[in-house]
């Protein structure tokens, strides 16, 4: 019998529709996101249509549908950052990376997220790449920052 990762995922579950959310959580814990393939497998196993599963999963903010990026860029849109133009920072990142918040770039390098507050409102507008917080950002600085990172990684 070949190793079937899906059998590992559903180990301990009964196959009842009510178990959908715990199963989705386990899939996301292992793969980092819900792929169409895993939703398809869950659909067959629980006998719930893929569309209903997608409906349930998109209701909750905790589930992702694209592979997580290598680096997570969090743009703060809390009150202070909003007032200081956080929206423009997010816009420029969306354009530059060509993705929407919650998605990852095609090369898998970056994942873009919008957050409500990073807890350092005095430094607004802020964004964080992985654990490092960048204070007092601007559209120009975002471009510079990303270019620097790319040059560093290429080198």
């Amino acid at each position: 019998m070949p190793f079937d990762p899906f059998a590992e995922i559903v180990r301990g579950f009964e196959g009842e529709p009510a178990e959908l959310i715990p199963i989705l959580q386990r899939v996301q814990a292992i793969y980092g996101y819900l792929s169409p393939e895993s939703v398809g497998r869950i659909s067959r196993w629980l006998r719930i249509s893929e569309n209903e599963i997608f409906g349930v999963a998109t209701f909750f903010a905790q589930f992702r549908f694209s592979q997580p990026g290598e680096h997570v860029i969090k743009v703060c849109l809390g009150t202070a950052c909003h007032v200081k133009g956080g929206e423009q920072i997010l816009d420029v990142l969306k354009r530059r990376l060509d993705i929407q918040p919650g998605e990852s770039t095609a090369d898998g390098r970056y994942q873009l997220e919008r957050v409500a507050c990073l807890g350092c409102c005095a430094l607004a507008p802020v964004l964080a790449i992985d654990e490092k917080v960048y204070a007092d950002t601007s559209v120009l600085r975002v471009h510079q920052m990303l270019e620097e990172r790319e040059n560093r990684e290429d080198a």
Partner: protein, 859 residues
């Protein structure tokens, strides 16, 4: 198992008070339903009789004595002594406010615009070409529930900022368009798709102001497995979901109740017409059969089939090298000249099982009394595997579609109800909601398997044996017993059969549904034996399904040459369709009535075709027949109901409307020309009255009661078909499929049907393809008994290992890849043993199949 819900009929009644008047209503109904039953109007946009209460629109707020706040009428159940107020000043104000909130997310100029009166009057401006002025973004203007309600509640203005969602309207799926900008998220379509149809293509996704209806991962409906049953379109209270074909037709003039002419279930439909032309079809709320549900054919295909530009509408004759339009007298003259002086075996008439009872009867009467021949045959024979004897016995069983919904235990064999017999699938789902148990017997995953308690997966062709085993366990008393080795041969674990029997046994009412696929797999005799055994049990209903809308009528009314109307043995020489196909007979004149079961012109001196479309090969004379919308008549459904087809298009003959005539009328005109018969019938009713007097048990007027076939003498069963040549490691299953209507495949006239991708190549389990080293879409070569056929391979998880599936359509013509499969149809059976090999180089396109002939196949 969920506890069985109490049915309304078992429940008592309660006394309540609605708007100060005392009324009684059934226990357990909602306040909304109670009000409706007592003629009190409570506005609502999200409730629907078949759907669970949702409480989404909040418009049905009422005041109930002793209850806090304003409860919703749709989700509050009536209780003894309840005092309900439905129309107070507060409620009116609240409803106006709620409707304004709904409209604030709905582009609403056609609801609250100052110009709406003038706009409606002047919208059709006459210029050189017809032009519409005014805003035309909603196709439902004038036939919209939301609009009616806004008018009724007196909402003329919106005090809230209007929010436009800005979604792209979705046009890329067949049959209906979707514009979720005007969706009010009432959830009727979602609940219809999930609760009633069990398809679950539609779901609410995302949340809050971003909530949207649609399938997962941004897929389109075809990818998401939509059946295109149109149920969501039917319940949409706005113009969000709109049928493509009739989208901008506007409000129809009137509608008539008729019968769907596309399959043997005989669903009742409302034919909407405008200016004398069929415009669109809605499911009729007929409690006997379909109760507001349809399948893709009934919901979307009728107007396109009858109005397609390819319709042949004028008589045509071959004159020298040309095939040209002629007048009726000229065409009839030529045809009668050819029919005169023929010996009985020099003519063969092939009749479609999609004709009306009247036309079938007239056809056989024409052949028998005018031409003194018995040479009439029908493809009904192919739709009824096992022969007339088997099916005459099956039709004498209690067959009932609506009883399925009341069954406690259901066995479904070889039925996939996505695109065919959908209504049977809906009935099964209805029973499951009430707590019934479903066992499916299917070699392949079917759409019903998802809801089955047990899915027994035998080797293809063994379905009959498995059903016999279940029949033996559930009923017993068979003359011949199933032996242990026979059970082992089916490929099913003994314990799985035990578990299935255990699940089914407690059910008092049993329903057995057998689809045409199971009958085609050389299992028909076993299936019939099992059905007869099960049908003898008290409280059992069976539903054997087959292709053709009026196949049962064809059997009863004598268009199979060996049987007269009423299933009496016919005497006299005759040729049959098989004689012609296998080259044993070569009739001089071949008369095809609504049927062309050939890939190319068969050998004969004179070929007459009488149909609504031209056959895909050369003919000598063409007589245009009236379609289901242009002629009246009756169809016999699987239960034996004789149901009416209503004529709604009776415009005068002309270049656009054509010169089509009902089939029975053409036979009458020919008989008159031949001068061998008395006065001809003037209308279809006259023929049905004649049938009623001549055929025992057949009603003399449309009669919607189910009818068990009564036979004085049993017709002997045909012998089991001998197995097909065994030559390979794979089972090839030629599954009955396609969308046949009369001589054509409807996908030729209805573009959307061809997008459902039913015709795509040979389907394999993906692991089998890996083993063979063929990619999805690559070319495979199938060999059987010296014949080689190649085509595109398609990976399909639903196919069991070691099998290849391909559709075997009943309407052959017009689709090129079908002609290439012709060598396979030479073998009688639908289950062949084949060798499979890949040519090495995968072909990415792989759309069309090619044939290299061996053993006398097609060139």
């Amino acid at each position: 198992m969920t506890p069985r819900r109490t049915r309304a009929k078992d429940a008592g009644t309660v006394a309540i008070e609605i708007d100060h008047s005392a009324v009684r209503c059934a226990e357990g109904v909602s306040v909304l339903r109670a009000a409706e039953l007592n003629g009190v109007f409570v506005p609502s946009l999200c409730s629907h009789k078949d759907l669970s209460p949702f409480g989404g629109c909040r418009l049905c707020v009422v005041e109930i004595d002793g209850m806090r706040g304003y409860p919703l009428a749709c989700s509050t159940l009536v209780q003894e002594g309840m005092k309900i107020l439905t129309d107070t000043a507060t409620l009116r104000e609240m409803r106006q406010e709620i409707l304004q909130l709904i409209l604030s997310e709905h582009p609403s100029s056609c609801l609250v615009c100052d110009e709406k009166e003038a706009c409606r009057e002047n919208v059709h401006t006459v210029r050189k070409a017809g032009v519409s002025t005014g805003c035309r973004y909603c196709p439902n203007d004038g036939q919209c529930e939301l609009q009616t309600l806004a008018e009724r509640l007196g909402v003329n203005d919106i005090h809230y900022p209007v929010y436009y969602r800005g979604y792209e309207p979705e046009h890329d799926d067949p049959f209906f368009d979707r514009d979720y900008n005007i969706c009010i998220l009432c959830g009727r379509c979602v609940r219809m798709c999930q609760e009633v149809r069990g398809t679950s293509v539609l779901a609410f996704k995302y949340r809050g102001s971003k909530t949207q209806v649609g399938p997962a991962f941004g897929r389109n409906h075809v990818e998401a497995g939509c059946e295109f049953c149109g149920a969501c379109v039917g319940v949409c209270p706005t113009g969000t979901l709109a049928e493509k074909a009739s989208k901008w037709d506007g409000k129809p003039d009137r509608s008539e109740v008729s019968t769907c002419p596309f399959c043997a279930l005989g669903c009742q439909i409302d034919l909407h017409h405008k200016a004398g032309r069929l415009s669109k079809v809605h499911a009729h709320l007929d409690p006997e059969i379909n109760d507001g549900q349809l399948c893709v054919r009934g919901a979307f295909c009728l107007p396109e089939v009858t109005h397609n530009h390819g319709r042949a509408r004028k008589p045509m004759l071959k004159r020298g090298r040309y095939f040209r339009e002629v007048s009726w007298p000229e065409a009839l003259g030529e045809v009668t000249a050819r029919l005169q002086g023929l010996k009985p075996e020099e003519i063969l008439m092939v009749v479609s099982p999609d004709l009306t009872n009247e036309s079938l009867y007239a056809a056989q009467k024409f052949i028998r009394s005018c031409l003194k021949s018995n040479s009439i045959d029908s493809t009904a024979r192919w739709a009824l595997p096992g022969g007339p004897g088997v099916w005459a016995d099956l039709f004498s069983l209690p067959i009932s579609i609506k009883s399925i919904a009341h069954a406690d235990s259901i066995i479904a064999v070889g039925l996939d109800s996505r695109f065919s017999f959908s209504v049977a699938g809906v009935e099964v789902r209805r029973a499951l909601r009430e707590g019934a148990t479903l066992v499916t017997i299917d070699a392949r995953y079917s759409n019903l398997a998802r809801y089955a308690k047990h899915w027994l997966q035998p080797h293809p062709g063994m379905e009959g044996t498995v059903l016999r085993v279940l029949a033996e366990r559930l009923v017993g008393g068979a003359r011949e017993h199933i032996t242990r080795p026979a059970i082992d041969e089916t490929g099913i674990d003994k314990w799985a059969v035990e578990r299935a029997t255990e699940a089914l046994a407690p059910g008092e009412n049993l329903a057995v549904v057998v689809g045409p696929t199971a009958f085609a797999l050389d299992a028909e005799l076993d299936l019939a034996k099992a059905l007869l055994q099960l049908g003898g049990r008290e409280g059992t209903t069976v539903l054997p399904l087959f292709q053709g809308a009026n196949t049962r009528g064809a059997l009863e009314l004598g268009v199979l040459g060996e049987l007269l109307p009423g299933l009496q043995r016919a005497k006299g020489r005759r040729v049959c369709l098989a004689d012609l196909l296998e080259g044993r007979a070569k009739p001089k004149v071949l008369y095809l009535v609504g049927e062309s079961p050939f890939f190319e012109r068969p050998e004969c001196d004179f070929l007459i075709a009488q149909d609504i479309y031209l056959p895909p090969f050369e003919v000598d004379a063409f007589l245009p027949a009236a379609s289901f919308a242009e002629a009246e008549g009756t169809l016999t459904n699987v239960e034996g109901r004789v149901q009416q087809l209503v004529r709604i298009e009776d415009l005068a003959d002309g270049a656009v409307t054509g010169y089509a005539r009902p089939d029975w009328f053409i036979f009458g005109a020919l008989a008159e020309k031949l001068g061998r018969a008395g006065p001809q019938p003037k209308n279809a009713g006259q023929i049905l009255r004649e049938i009623g007097t001549k055929v025992a048990g057949f009603p003399a007027s449309p009669d919607r009661r189910p009818r068990r076939l009564q036979l004085n003498t049993r017709i002997p069963w045909e012998k089991a078909r001998t197995g097909s040549p065994a030559s390979g490691q794979y089972h090839l299953i030629l599954e009955p499929g396609g969308f046949r209507h009369r001589g054509i495949d409807m996908s030729l006239a209805v573009e959307g049907l061809s997008e459902l991708a039913l015709e795509e190549g040979f389907r394999f389990h993906p692991d089998d393809l890996d083993e063979l080293g063929i990619g999805n879409g690559g070319r495979v070569i199938l060999g059987v008994d010296g014949v080689e056929v190649s085509g595109a391979a398609k990976a399909d998880l639903d196919c069991p290992r070691g099998t290849v599936w391909v559709y075997r359509p009943f309407a052959y013509g017009g689709i090129p890849q079908r002609a290439n499969l012709a060598p396979l149809y030479r073998f009688g059976g639908s289950l062949l043993s084949v060798t499979v090999s890949g040519p090495g180089a995968p072909n990415a396109e792989g759309a069309e199949a090619q044939v290299s002939a061996g053993g006398g196949g097609e060139p």
